[in-house]
Chain length 185, copies 2
Amino acid sequence: MPKENDTPYVLLGMMTTGCNTGYSMKQMIDNSLSHFWKISYGQIYPSLKKLTDEGLAVAKKEPQKDKPDKITYEMTSVGREALENWLTSPIESGLPIQKNEWLLKLFFSRHEPASSAIEKIRQYEKQLEEKLAIYRQIEQNIQNAEFRSEDERFWLFTLRHGFKTTTAAIEWCQEVTEELQNGEE
Amino acid sequence: MPKENDTPYVLLGMMTTGCNTGYSMKQMIDNSLSHFWKISYGQIYPSLKKLTDEGLAVAKKEPQKDKPDKITYEMTSVGREALENWLTSPIESGLPIQKNEWLLKLFFSRHEPASSAIEKIRQYEKQLEEKLAIYRQIEQNIQNAEFRSEDERFWLFTLRHGFKTTTAAIEWCQEVTEELQNGEE
DNA sequence: ACCCCCATGTAATCGGTTACATGATTCT
DNA sequence: AGAATCATGTAACCGATTACATGGGGGT
Protein backbone atom coordinates (compact mmCIF):
# COMPACT_ATOMS: atom_id res chain seq x y z
CA MET A 1 0.00 0.00 0.00
CA PRO A 2 1.23 3.47 -0.81
CA LYS A 3 2.28 5.53 2.18
CA GLU A 4 -0.22 8.16 3.30
CA ASN A 5 0.47 11.81 2.76
CA ASP A 6 0.45 13.69 6.05
CA THR A 7 0.69 17.17 4.58
CA PRO A 8 -3.06 17.94 4.39
CA TYR A 9 -3.55 16.79 7.98
CA VAL A 10 -0.73 18.98 9.21
CA LEU A 11 -2.45 21.93 7.58
CA LEU A 12 -5.80 21.01 9.09
CA GLY A 13 -4.07 20.72 12.44
CA MET A 14 -2.54 24.15 11.99
CA MET A 15 -6.01 25.60 11.49
CA THR A 16 -6.99 24.39 14.95
CA THR A 17 -4.14 26.34 16.50
CA GLY A 18 -5.16 29.70 15.10
CA CYS A 19 -2.90 29.68 12.08
CA ASN A 20 -5.20 30.44 9.19
CA THR A 21 -3.02 31.56 6.29
CA GLY A 22 -0.49 29.58 4.30
CA TYR A 23 2.19 32.02 5.27
CA SER A 24 1.58 31.79 9.02
CA MET A 25 1.32 28.01 8.88
CA LYS A 26 4.74 27.81 7.32
CA GLN A 27 6.07 30.14 9.97
CA MET A 28 4.69 28.16 12.84
CA ILE A 29 5.91 24.86 11.44
CA ASP A 30 9.39 26.34 11.02
CA ASN A 31 9.29 27.68 14.54
CA SER A 32 7.46 25.24 16.75
CA LEU A 33 7.51 21.96 14.87
CA SER A 34 10.95 22.19 13.37
CA HIS A 35 12.29 19.43 15.59
CA PHE A 36 10.16 16.85 13.82
CA TRP A 37 8.58 18.39 10.73
CA LYS A 38 9.21 20.72 7.83
CA ILE A 39 7.34 21.99 4.84
CA SER A 40 7.70 24.33 1.86
CA TYR A 41 5.34 26.74 0.13
CA GLY A 42 5.42 24.46 -2.86
CA GLN A 43 3.45 21.97 -0.80
CA ILE A 44 1.36 24.34 1.29
CA TYR A 45 -0.48 26.41 -1.30
CA PRO A 46 -1.50 23.62 -3.68
CA SER A 47 -2.48 21.51 -0.67
CA LEU A 48 -4.67 24.24 0.80
CA LYS A 49 -6.40 24.63 -2.52
CA LYS A 50 -7.08 20.92 -2.66
CA LEU A 51 -8.47 20.88 0.87
CA THR A 52 -10.84 23.66 -0.14
CA ASP A 53 -11.90 21.87 -3.31
CA GLU A 54 -12.67 18.75 -1.32
CA GLY A 55 -14.70 20.62 1.27
CA LEU A 56 -12.38 20.03 4.23
CA ALA A 57 -11.72 23.74 4.57
CA VAL A 58 -13.23 27.01 3.45
CA ALA A 59 -11.19 29.90 2.10
CA LYS A 60 -11.99 33.57 2.60
CA LYS A 61 -10.26 36.50 0.97
CA GLU A 62 -9.43 39.22 3.46
CA PRO A 63 -8.13 42.57 2.25
CA GLN A 64 -5.81 44.34 4.67
CA LYS A 65 -5.02 48.04 4.47
CA ASP A 66 -1.44 48.08 5.71
CA LYS A 67 -0.45 44.62 4.51
CA PRO A 68 -1.07 42.60 1.35
CA ASP A 69 -4.34 40.75 1.05
CA LYS A 70 -4.45 37.36 2.64
CA ILE A 71 -6.51 34.23 2.32
CA THR A 72 -7.70 32.71 5.55
CA TYR A 73 -8.68 29.07 5.84
CA GLU A 74 -11.06 27.51 8.30
CA MET A 75 -11.73 23.86 8.89
CA THR A 76 -15.19 22.54 8.13
CA SER A 77 -16.93 19.82 10.13
CA VAL A 78 -15.92 17.38 7.42
CA GLY A 79 -12.35 18.54 7.86
CA ARG A 80 -12.53 18.09 11.62
CA GLU A 81 -13.76 14.57 11.17
CA ALA A 82 -10.93 13.79 8.77
CA LEU A 83 -8.40 15.19 11.23
CA GLU A 84 -9.72 13.19 14.16
CA ASN A 85 -9.87 10.11 12.01
CA TRP A 86 -6.26 10.52 11.00
CA LEU A 87 -5.19 11.18 14.59
CA THR A 88 -6.71 8.00 15.95
CA SER A 89 -5.71 5.80 13.02
CA PRO A 90 -2.70 3.56 13.57
CA ILE A 91 0.72 4.42 12.21
CA GLU A 92 1.66 1.51 10.02
CA SER A 93 4.88 2.82 8.57
CA GLY A 94 7.06 1.88 11.50
CA LEU A 95 9.85 4.19 12.56
CA PRO A 96 11.17 6.95 10.37
CA ILE A 97 14.61 6.11 9.11
CA GLN A 98 16.37 9.35 9.67
CA LYS A 99 19.05 9.71 7.08
CA ASN A 100 22.10 11.16 8.77
CA GLU A 101 24.87 12.38 6.51
CA TRP A 102 27.27 12.83 9.42
CA LEU A 103 27.00 9.21 10.46
CA LEU A 104 27.19 8.16 6.84
CA LYS A 105 30.55 9.82 6.41
CA LEU A 106 31.81 8.52 9.74
CA PHE A 107 30.90 5.01 8.59
CA PHE A 108 33.47 5.32 5.81
CA SER A 109 35.96 7.29 7.86
CA ARG A 110 38.72 4.76 7.44
CA HIS A 111 39.39 6.47 4.11
CA GLU A 112 40.05 9.89 5.55
CA PRO A 113 42.59 11.25 8.06
CA ALA A 114 41.58 10.97 11.73
CA SER A 115 41.82 14.73 12.14
CA SER A 116 39.19 15.15 9.48
CA ALA A 117 36.81 12.79 11.23
CA ILE A 118 37.33 14.49 14.57
CA GLU A 119 36.68 17.87 13.06
CA LYS A 120 33.48 16.59 11.50
CA ILE A 121 32.17 15.33 14.80
CA ARG A 122 33.03 18.63 16.43
CA GLN A 123 30.93 20.37 13.80
CA TYR A 124 28.12 17.92 14.30
CA GLU A 125 28.22 18.60 18.02
CA LYS A 126 28.15 22.31 17.39
CA GLN A 127 25.04 21.96 15.28
CA LEU A 128 23.38 19.86 17.93
CA GLU A 129 24.13 22.54 20.52
CA GLU A 130 22.56 25.13 18.27
CA LYS A 131 19.53 22.94 17.98
CA LEU A 132 19.28 22.73 21.75
CA ALA A 133 19.42 26.52 21.96
CA ILE A 134 16.54 26.74 19.50
CA TYR A 135 14.52 24.29 21.56
CA ARG A 136 15.06 26.42 24.65
CA GLN A 137 13.82 29.39 22.69
CA ILE A 138 10.70 27.54 21.56
CA GLU A 139 10.07 26.47 25.14
CA GLN A 140 10.24 30.09 26.27
CA ASN A 141 7.87 31.15 23.52
CA ILE A 142 5.29 28.59 24.52
CA GLN A 143 5.48 29.25 28.23
CA ASN A 144 5.47 33.03 27.92
CA ALA A 145 2.50 33.08 25.57
CA GLU A 146 -0.29 35.36 26.75
CA PHE A 147 -3.01 32.88 26.04
CA ARG A 148 -2.57 29.49 27.62
CA SER A 149 -3.34 27.08 24.86
CA GLU A 150 -4.86 23.71 25.54
CA ASP A 151 -2.30 22.38 23.12
CA GLU A 152 0.57 23.58 25.28
CA ARG A 153 0.95 20.38 27.22
CA PHE A 154 1.42 18.30 24.08
CA TRP A 155 3.72 20.81 22.48
CA LEU A 156 6.03 20.63 25.48
CA PHE A 157 5.97 16.83 25.29
CA THR A 158 7.25 16.84 21.73
CA LEU A 159 9.88 19.41 22.67
CA ARG A 160 11.14 17.21 25.46
CA HIS A 161 11.63 14.44 22.94
CA GLY A 162 13.92 16.79 21.07
CA PHE A 163 15.82 17.71 24.21
CA LYS A 164 16.41 14.14 25.26
CA THR A 165 17.52 12.75 21.94
CA THR A 166 19.67 15.76 21.08
CA THR A 167 21.36 15.67 24.47
CA ALA A 168 22.07 11.97 23.97
CA ALA A 169 23.62 12.73 20.59
CA ILE A 170 25.83 15.41 22.12
CA GLU A 171 27.04 12.96 24.75
CA TRP A 172 27.86 10.55 21.96
CA CYS A 173 29.93 13.22 20.21
CA GLN A 174 31.97 13.80 23.34
CA GLU A 175 32.61 10.11 23.90
CA VAL A 176 33.60 9.44 20.32
CA THR A 177 35.78 12.53 20.05
CA GLU A 178 37.75 11.42 23.08
CA GLU A 179 38.21 7.90 21.78
CA LEU A 180 39.33 9.15 18.40
CA GLN A 181 41.85 11.48 19.98
CA ASN A 182 43.27 8.70 22.14
CA GLY A 183 43.76 6.58 19.08
CA GLU A 184 45.41 9.37 17.14
CA GLU A 185 48.64 10.10 19.01
CA MET B 1 22.64 25.65 -4.36
CA PRO B 2 20.99 22.29 -4.95
CA LYS B 3 21.65 19.72 -2.27
CA GLU B 4 24.20 17.08 -3.17
CA ASN B 5 23.12 13.56 -3.87
CA ASP B 6 24.87 11.13 -1.55
CA THR B 7 23.69 7.96 -3.24
CA PRO B 8 26.67 7.45 -5.59
CA TYR B 9 29.09 7.99 -2.72
CA VAL B 10 27.32 5.44 -0.58
CA LEU B 11 27.73 2.95 -3.39
CA LEU B 12 31.39 3.79 -3.83
CA GLY B 13 31.81 3.36 -0.09
CA MET B 14 30.13 -0.01 -0.25
CA MET B 15 32.66 -1.12 -2.84
CA THR B 16 35.45 -0.49 -0.32
CA THR B 17 33.83 -2.88 2.14
CA GLY B 18 33.79 -5.84 -0.19
CA CYS B 19 30.23 -5.44 -1.41
CA ASN B 20 30.50 -5.51 -5.15
CA THR B 21 27.06 -6.24 -6.52
CA GLY B 22 23.94 -4.11 -6.41
CA TYR B 23 22.14 -6.86 -4.59
CA SER B 24 24.71 -7.26 -1.83
CA MET B 25 25.02 -3.49 -1.39
CA LYS B 26 21.32 -3.24 -0.75
CA GLN B 27 21.57 -6.08 1.72
CA MET B 28 24.39 -4.55 3.67
CA ILE B 29 22.73 -1.16 3.81
CA ASP B 30 19.55 -2.73 5.10
CA ASN B 31 21.49 -4.68 7.68
CA SER B 32 24.34 -2.55 8.91
CA LEU B 33 23.42 1.01 7.99
CA SER B 34 19.71 0.83 8.63
CA HIS B 35 19.94 3.07 11.66
CA PHE B 36 20.87 6.04 9.53
CA TRP B 37 20.41 5.18 5.88
CA LYS B 38 18.20 3.37 3.44
CA ILE B 39 18.05 2.79 -0.27
CA SER B 40 16.03 0.96 -2.94
CA TYR B 41 16.92 -0.94 -6.09
CA GLY B 42 15.31 1.84 -8.07
CA GLN B 43 18.20 4.03 -7.00
CA ILE B 44 20.98 1.46 -6.87
CA TYR B 45 20.98 0.01 -10.37
CA PRO B 46 20.65 3.24 -12.35
CA SER B 47 23.21 4.82 -10.05
CA LEU B 48 25.73 2.02 -10.56
CA LYS B 49 25.30 2.36 -14.29
CA LYS B 50 25.95 6.06 -14.09
CA LEU B 51 29.07 5.54 -11.97
CA THR B 52 30.36 3.15 -14.62
CA ASP B 53 29.57 5.55 -17.46
CA GLU B 54 31.47 8.29 -15.68
CA GLY B 55 34.49 6.12 -15.03
CA LEU B 56 34.23 6.04 -11.24
CA ALA B 57 33.70 2.30 -11.28
CA VAL B 58 34.19 -0.63 -13.63
CA ALA B 59 31.61 -3.35 -14.14
CA LYS B 60 32.37 -6.97 -14.84
CA LYS B 61 29.92 -9.68 -15.77
CA GLU B 62 30.48 -12.83 -13.80
CA PRO B 63 28.62 -15.99 -14.69
CA GLN B 64 27.98 -18.31 -11.79
CA LYS B 65 27.11 -21.92 -12.18
CA ASP B 66 24.88 -22.42 -9.19
CA LYS B 67 23.43 -18.89 -9.00
CA PRO B 68 22.24 -16.34 -11.54
CA ASP B 69 24.86 -14.23 -13.25
CA LYS B 70 25.95 -11.18 -11.38
CA ILE B 71 27.64 -7.93 -12.20
CA THR B 72 30.48 -6.92 -9.93
CA TYR B 73 31.62 -3.36 -9.56
CA GLU B 74 35.02 -2.13 -8.58
CA MET B 75 36.07 1.40 -7.78
CA THR B 76 38.61 3.05 -10.07
CA SER B 77 41.28 5.47 -8.90
CA VAL B 78 39.06 8.29 -10.09
CA GLY B 79 36.29 6.86 -7.98
CA ARG B 80 38.52 6.63 -4.95
CA GLU B 81 39.49 10.24 -5.34
CA ALA B 82 35.83 11.26 -5.59
CA LEU B 83 35.01 9.28 -2.45
CA GLU B 84 37.83 10.80 -0.44
CA ASN B 85 36.92 14.22 -1.70
CA TRP B 86 33.33 13.78 -0.62
CA LEU B 87 34.38 12.42 2.76
CA THR B 88 36.55 15.39 3.62
CA SER B 89 34.23 18.01 2.18
CA PRO B 90 32.12 19.94 4.68
CA ILE B 91 28.48 19.12 5.29
CA GLU B 92 26.66 22.31 4.52
CA SER B 93 23.12 21.11 4.89
CA GLY B 94 22.96 21.39 8.65
CA LEU B 95 21.12 18.75 10.60
CA PRO B 96 18.69 16.33 9.06
CA ILE B 97 15.15 17.18 10.06
CA GLN B 98 13.79 13.78 10.81
CA LYS B 99 10.10 13.79 10.15
CA ASN B 100 8.43 11.92 12.96
CA GLU B 101 4.80 10.99 12.42
CA TRP B 102 4.37 9.91 16.03
CA LEU B 103 5.38 13.29 17.39
CA LEU B 104 3.28 14.98 14.72
CA LYS B 105 0.15 13.25 15.92
CA LEU B 106 1.01 13.86 19.55
CA PHE B 107 1.35 17.54 18.75
CA PHE B 108 -2.34 17.63 17.84
CA SER B 109 -3.41 15.19 20.51
CA ARG B 110 -5.81 17.61 22.15
CA HIS B 111 -8.27 16.51 19.49
CA GLU B 112 -8.23 12.84 20.40
CA PRO B 113 -9.02 10.94 23.59
CA ALA B 114 -6.19 10.59 26.10
CA SER B 115 -6.37 6.82 25.91
CA SER B 116 -5.66 7.00 22.19
CA ALA B 117 -2.57 9.13 22.74
CA ILE B 118 -1.29 6.82 25.46
CA GLU B 119 -1.76 3.80 23.26
CA LYS B 120 0.11 5.49 20.47
CA ILE B 121 3.10 6.22 22.66
CA ARG B 122 3.11 2.64 23.87
CA GLN B 123 3.31 1.52 20.27
CA TYR B 124 6.08 3.98 19.58
CA GLU B 125 8.01 2.63 22.55
CA LYS B 126 7.51 -0.91 21.34
CA GLN B 127 8.95 -0.02 17.95
CA LEU B 128 11.92 1.66 19.60
CA GLU B 129 12.57 -1.47 21.64
CA GLU B 130 12.52 -3.54 18.48
CA LYS B 131 15.00 -1.17 16.97
CA LEU B 132 17.31 -1.63 19.95
CA ALA B 133 17.09 -5.38 19.51
CA ILE B 134 18.14 -5.00 15.88
CA TYR B 135 21.07 -2.85 16.90
CA ARG B 136 22.21 -5.53 19.33
CA GLN B 137 22.01 -8.03 16.51
CA ILE B 138 24.09 -5.84 14.21
CA GLU B 139 26.64 -5.40 16.98
CA GLN B 140 26.94 -9.15 17.34
CA ASN B 141 27.34 -9.59 13.61
CA ILE B 142 30.17 -7.09 13.46
CA GLN B 143 32.02 -8.42 16.48
CA ASN B 144 31.67 -12.07 15.53
CA ALA B 145 32.85 -11.52 11.98
CA GLU B 146 35.69 -13.80 10.97
CA PHE B 147 37.72 -11.09 9.36
CA ARG B 148 38.38 -8.07 11.50
CA SER B 149 37.65 -5.16 9.29
CA GLU B 150 39.49 -1.89 9.60
CA ASP B 151 36.10 -0.29 9.30
CA GLU B 152 34.81 -2.03 12.40
CA ARG B 153 35.74 0.75 14.78
CA PHE B 154 33.72 3.34 12.87
CA TRP B 155 30.79 1.03 12.37
CA LEU B 156 30.52 0.52 16.10
CA PHE B 157 30.66 4.27 16.60
CA THR B 158 27.63 4.85 14.40
CA LEU B 159 25.82 2.00 16.13
CA ARG B 160 26.42 3.58 19.51
CA HIS B 161 24.77 6.73 18.22
CA GLY B 162 21.71 4.64 17.51
CA PHE B 163 21.80 3.06 20.95
CA LYS B 164 22.08 6.34 22.78
CA THR B 165 19.39 8.25 20.92
CA THR B 166 16.98 5.33 20.86
CA THR B 167 17.43 4.72 24.56
CA ALA B 168 16.76 8.39 25.22
CA ALA B 169 13.57 8.18 23.18
CA ILE B 170 12.41 5.15 25.17
CA GLU B 171 13.00 7.03 28.40
CA TRP B 172 10.90 9.85 27.01
CA CYS B 173 8.07 7.43 26.22
CA GLN B 174 8.06 6.19 29.79
CA GLU B 175 8.04 9.68 31.26
CA VAL B 176 5.28 10.95 29.01
CA THR B 177 3.13 7.85 29.43
CA GLU B 178 3.25 8.27 33.17
CA GLU B 179 2.32 11.93 33.01
CA LEU B 180 -0.54 11.28 30.64
CA GLN B 181 -1.90 8.56 32.90
CA ASN B 182 -1.73 10.83 35.92
CA GLY B 183 -3.71 13.46 34.09
CA GLU B 184 -6.30 10.95 32.93
CA GLU B 185 -7.96 9.74 36.09
C1' DA C 1 18.04 53.12 -3.13
C1' DC C 2 18.03 48.81 -0.93
C1' DC C 3 16.62 45.16 1.87
C1' DC C 4 13.51 42.77 4.87
C1' DC C 5 8.88 41.31 6.09
C1' DC C 6 4.41 40.16 4.51
C1' DA C 7 1.81 37.22 1.22
C1' DT C 8 0.53 34.09 -2.68
C1' DG C 9 1.51 31.26 -6.14
C1' DT C 10 3.68 28.13 -10.24
C1' DA C 11 6.97 25.25 -13.05
C1' DA C 12 10.93 22.51 -13.39
C1' DT C 13 13.30 19.24 -11.44
C1' DC C 14 14.88 15.74 -8.25
C1' DG C 15 15.21 12.05 -5.09
C1' DG C 16 12.98 8.17 -3.93
C1' DT C 17 9.33 4.46 -3.65
C1' DT C 18 6.39 1.05 -5.58
C1' DA C 19 5.05 -2.10 -8.67
C1' DC C 20 6.18 -4.82 -12.17
C1' DA C 21 8.97 -8.08 -15.16
C1' DT C 22 12.28 -11.84 -15.68
C1' DG C 23 14.54 -16.00 -14.43
C1' DA C 24 17.69 -19.46 -12.21
C1' DT C 25 18.42 -22.39 -8.05
C1' DT C 26 17.41 -24.62 -3.68
C1' DC C 27 14.59 -26.11 0.02
C1' DT C 28 10.24 -28.04 1.77
C1' DA D 1 4.12 -27.64 -6.64
C1' DG D 2 5.29 -23.73 -4.28
C1' DA D 3 8.11 -20.66 -1.62
C1' DA D 4 12.51 -18.52 -0.65
C1' DT D 5 16.83 -16.61 -1.98
C1' DC D 6 19.72 -14.73 -5.48
C1' DA D 7 20.01 -11.28 -9.06
C1' DT D 8 19.03 -7.31 -12.34
C1' DG D 9 16.43 -3.99 -14.13
C1' DT D 10 12.47 -0.36 -15.69
C1' DA D 11 8.35 2.75 -15.66
C1' DA D 12 5.00 5.23 -13.27
C1' DC D 13 4.31 7.89 -9.80
C1' DC D 14 4.77 10.98 -5.77
C1' DG D 15 6.40 14.03 -2.33
C1' DA D 16 9.19 17.70 -1.88
C1' DT D 17 12.64 21.25 -3.01
C1' DT D 18 14.18 25.09 -5.66
C1' DA D 19 13.82 28.82 -8.32
C1' DC D 20 11.16 32.05 -10.10
C1' DA D 21 7.41 35.70 -10.41
C1' DT D 22 4.67 39.39 -8.31
C1' DG D 23 3.84 43.20 -5.32
C1' DG D 24 2.86 46.42 -1.26
C1' DG D 25 4.76 48.40 3.19
C1' DG D 26 8.28 49.74 6.54
C1' DG D 27 12.95 50.57 8.06
C1' DT D 28 18.01 52.05 7.39
